[in-house]
């Protein structure tokens, strides 16, 4: 279980996330909607434990342990994994090397080659990680690493952005694999938190709970499909007016 209580997060001294509460039970996938700049990525980064994202208040617990003070790698080894939206190129480090490092400790599973086959990245194993990769290739490469890592909590930041129609079905399939969607609910352990701006990801991955985040706070919790229908109809402006009680900046004049 992931339990976030009264969490506030600052970046370079400026508070971005305010008093967020969120709980994901084992086997559940939740979706975080929100306009650009709402603080969705900041929340994911804070859960993963990136040093730049300072928790100023509240706590993050994972599998019953307070992880607020743990480093990124400690959280990764506890079972939290994240797909990066814009991962860095690491020259000289091959995709194969990272996948092999992710597989460490999961030796009973699939091999690097099998996972690369599944993600259609066999030709990328001996290339420098992320070097010259297209948008879709980056997404698949991130999922390839996560499939090797086998996290219990997967954090996905806009998994559908920049992906063409050919790739999106495969990416949806890989996400379902990662989140154990083919496993009966009672046996499912893996949790997911997916950020989406457009909501397209819901066409491929089923999620139990949705949140809307605006201005660094979560104002709405509910059925993600219903939420998406409302957002599609009225836009995020309605959310801002509804739960923040303010007029969106672009409507002020």
């Amino acid at each position: 279980m992931l339990k976030i209580q009264d969490l506030s997060v600052a970046v370079e001294g400026k508070e971005i996330i305010h008093d967020v509460n969120l709980t994901i039970q084992n086997g559940e996938t939740h979706v975080l909607f929100g306009p650009n700049g709402a603080g969705k990525s900041t929340l994911l980064m804070a859960i993963m434990g990136f040093p730049k994202y300072k928790v100023t208040k509240g706590s993050i617990s994972f599998k019953g342990r307070d992880i607020t003070g743990l480093s990124v790698d400690e959280r990764a080894r506890m079972g939290i994994g994240m797909s990066f939206q814009r991962p860095p190129v690491v020259r000289g480090v091959k995709t194969r090397d990272i996948v092999a490092a992710c597989l460490k400790g999961h030796g009973d599973g699939e091999s690097v080659e099998q996972l690369a086959e599944k993600t259609d990245l066999k030709d990328f194993l001996d290339r420098d990680i992320n070097y010259g990769f297209s948008g879709g290739e980056i997404k698949r490469s991130e999922l390839l690493q996560l499939l090797a890592q086998k996290p219990e909590l997967t954090l996905l930041d806009e998994p559908e952005s920049g992906v063409d129609l050919v790739n999106i079905a495969l990416i949806g399939e890989l996400m379902n694999d990662l989140l154990e969607k083919n496993c009966p609910i009672q046996y499912r352990k893996c949790m997911g938190l997916i950020i989406t701006h457009t909501g397209h990801v819901l066409d491929y991955v089923n999620a139990r709970t949705g949140y809307v985040m605006c201005d660094g706070t979560i104002g709405c919790i509910g059925d993600p499909h219903e939420m998406l229908a409302t957002i599609r109809e009225r836009g995020y402006d309605e959310c801002i007016k509804c739960y923040l009680g303010r007029i969106p900046a672009h409507e002020e004049n």
Binding site: M48, P87, V90, G92, V93
Partner: protein, 411 residues
């Protein structure tokens, strides 16, 4: 060494250059070293050399216990050739002094690519006791395994004067591994190595040089390669062990159409090491190509990493990539990439970057479960990654060990 033709002229030119400082690098006082050393006995079976000597040679990529992966071997201790042998037809390996006795025409190749009066170091080679290897691939002959050569500095305070001639005749293919090493880990010495390469039409040469000196050695190699039409020269250089002062600027001249040259250099400089290393290519014939890649890491030493490409003919293309990583305190990397184009229609480019390990990359790997130390080591290993053609497994292991040693210094 016996030189048949024109040696008087060379001697005269050399005498006039005995005080001529090199264009780059610290000026070495040659008077601090002795020019003549003791003679060493010939070794018909180099596997009988003392284990310590063999181990040091192995550290520079020279395998003496199992030569089955080599097509020939040349060993020089100080200024004495102590062994030369071949295991494959179509390739010749011997001391230059011996080759000059055998071939009258060879004198025409001496000091043709490298000028005898380039500086006081080349002059010193001509004017003092010297020898070196003669490696030649006969026309159309292709070696499968590399020829290995070791230039070994045994006597303390000696100047080792080396003059090598490498000829790849038309349509031949030659792989060479040259290792340089010292007997002592602390005694000073000076190595001056002149190498003249002649790659004829359609020939291919891969040359891998591994330096394993000690922290008191000064090194001044002087190398030039001529590449004729459709010729290919791949040069790899590894320096991962400490050295006191090393300066070299090997040069290739593409003199035939479609001549291609590629330089890879891997440089690691710890505290007390000062190196000035570059690669220089003149693209003098139509459609000639070059790529120069260097990777430099300092853990406290000074590195000047140079590169120079000059385009002097139509449709030539060259790229220079120079990357430096500063790890630890007090290290300096000065990258100097230079391009000169002398006519329209040429394509020359360069990229240079010097810096520390990007925190973003470390964090990315940590998010996959690697500790900070593992992530840093992975990035350093990736930076130094070399996929060098013809590198034997033992040498790869040696390279890996050297990289790990560098990593330990960093941590």
């Amino acid at each position: 060494m016996k030189k048949i033709n024109a040696s008087k002229t060379f001697k005269d030119k050399a005498k006039a250059a005995t005080s001529k400082a090199a264009a780059y690098g610290k000026d070495i006082d040659l008077n601090k070293y002795v020019s003549s050393g003791e003679e060493h006995p010939y070794q018909a079976d180099p596997s009988q050399l003392p284990p310590k000597t063999k181990e040091q040679m192995l550290g520079a990529g020279v395998m003496l216990d199992d030569p089955s992966q080599r097509s020939g071997t040349y060993l020089q201790m100080d200024n004495t050739p102590i062994h030369s042998s071949i295991r494959q037809d179509g390739v010749e390996v011997m001391a230059v002094s011996q080759a000059l006795e055998k071939y009258d025409w060879l004198a025409d190749y001496l000091w043709k690519a490298v000028a005898v009066d380039s500086d006081k170091y080349t002059a010193n080679v001509e004017l003092n006791q010297n020898d070196g290897y003669f490696i030649r691939a006969l026309p159309g002959q292709k070696t499968v395994f590399p020829v290995q050569a070791c230039l070994y500095l045994a006597q303390a305070r000696l100047v080792q004067n080396v003059h090598n001639i490498i000829i790849a005749e038309e349509g031949s293919e030659l792989h060479i591994i040259t290792g340089c090493a010292t007997a002592s880990r602390e005694e000073p010495g000076l190595h001056i190595g002149v190498s003249e390469f002649y790659i004829k039409r359609g020939a291919k040469v891969t040359f891998t040089m591994i330096h394993s000196w000690n922290p008191e050695t000064a090194v001044r190699p002087r190398t030039t390669t001529f590449i004729e039409e459709d010729g290919l020269f791949l040069s790899n250089y590894l320096l991962m062990k400490p050295v006191n002062s090393l300066q070299m600027y090997p040069t290739s001249r593409c003199i035939g159409e479609n001549a291609t040259v590629r330089y890879n250099s891997i440089l690691v400089a710890g505290k007390g090491t000062s190196i000035d290393v570059g690669s220089r290519v003149f693209l003098n014939a139509k459609n000639a190509r070059t790529e120069i890649v260097s990777r430099a890491i300092t853990t406290g030493g000074n590195i000047i990493a140079r590169g120079y490409i000059e385009g002097n003919a139509a449709d030539v293309k060259g790229h220079l990539e120079c990357r430096g990583l500063i790890l630890g305190e007090n290290g300096v990397i000065h990258a100097i990439p230079e391009l000169k184009g002398n006519l329209p229609g040429i394509d020359l480019s360069h990229e240079a970057a010097v810096g520390k390990i990007a925190e973003e990359e470390v964090i990315y790997l940590m998010a996959r479960g690697l500790t900070r130390e593992e992530a840093t080591a992975t990035i350093v290993r990736g930076f130094l990654r070399v996929d060098i053609e013809g590198l034997p497994p033992l040498l790869s292991a040696e390279l890996k060990r050297a990289v790990e040693a560098s990593e330990k210094e960093v941590m």
